[in-house]
Amino acid sequence: MTDVRVGRYLAVTLGGATADVAERVTAMCERLLCNGVIEEFRFSLRDEAGSEPAG
């Protein structure tokens, strides 16, 4: 092992339209969930069945 990192994992359930979901999650991360001075974020999206949403 050459490195180890401890991060924060958040599972967020969203309602509403799915069209702009990536933009909504990005805004949440930038405004509150992540402090850009000391943290970075990445996210992936799943539908309720656990698969990647189409489109």
Partner: protein
């Protein structure tokens, strides 16, 4: 008429009464402001005290930075009003973007409650103007996340702009690694906004206002803003 200090109370704030006591010792009036308020009740100065606002969930100060009263504090600061964030209040100001940088876990990974020596320097602020002690201020810290951090360009800008207003130093006034209680970059204990009216600091001046309790060096910071506001009122 005494200068009125607004002291913001969030759920989890715990140094508000100490701040009110310090304000009274400085001959001014303390006004308690509630986090859900949207107005500042016409105060002359705002203090964000220490504690664990909203339990410091997510990150220290992160939820408090979105409290309703912060919009009013933001407007007050933009209009030049003096704002002092102490400890958790400093963390809130950074999370709200009113001051640059962030406060990380102490280098020791331990909560530190101890006396520190502070050198007053940089540009004058409402809280440090006129404070030119021959020896470092003796003011305690009490925090687990006080290690000041910012990117190199931000640190350089703070230093060049005289915006580092308090620095951890030893008894001789030297900013040594041993004098740094938490691993802050450049031994930074307190910084000011570009305009100078917003100041954040990790040490607790309100807990150093009576010699009987170990130090009265913090009282000067409350007196400084009171004197400045009274001076401004007289010149109007």
């Amino acid at each position: 008429m005494p200068v009125r200090f607004g002291i913001v109370v969030f759920p989890g704030t715990w140094s508000d009464r100490d701040c009110a006591h310090a304000v009274a010792l400085a001959g001014s009036e303390a006004v308690t402001l509630w986090h859900a308020d949207r107005e500042l009740a016409g105060v002359d100065c705002v203090i964000l005290p220490g504690g664990f606002a909203y339990g410091d969930y997510l990150r220290a100060g992160a939820i408090a930075a979105h409290a309703p009263i912060i919009a009013a504090v933001r407007s007050f600061a933009a209009a030049g009003g003096p704002v002092l964030g102490i400890c958790n209040g400093f963390q809130v100001l950074c999370e709200a973007g009113l001051l640059p940088g962030a406060l990380l876990r102490n280098r020791s990974l331990q909560f530190r409650c101890q006396w520190t020596g502070l050198r007053v320097e940089g540009r004058p602020t409402p809280f440090t103007a006129g404070l030119a002690p021959a020896t470092p201020l003796r003011i305690p810290i009490s925090h687990g996340e006080g290690r000041y951090h910012a990117d190199p360009d931000t640190i350089a800008g703070l230093e060049l702009g005289g915006r580092v207003v308090l620095r951890y130093v030893d008894a001789r006034g030297a900013a040594t690694p041993d004098a740094n209680p938490n691993g802050s970059l450049h031994n930074i204990a307190g910084i000011a906004s570009a305009a100078g009216n917003v100041v954040g600091m990790m040490p607790h001046p309100e807990r150093a206002c009576e010699a009987l309790l170990g130090s009265a060096d913090g009282l000067g910071m409350f007196r400084a803003v009171a004197a400045a506001r009274l001076g401004a009122a007289r010149s109007r």
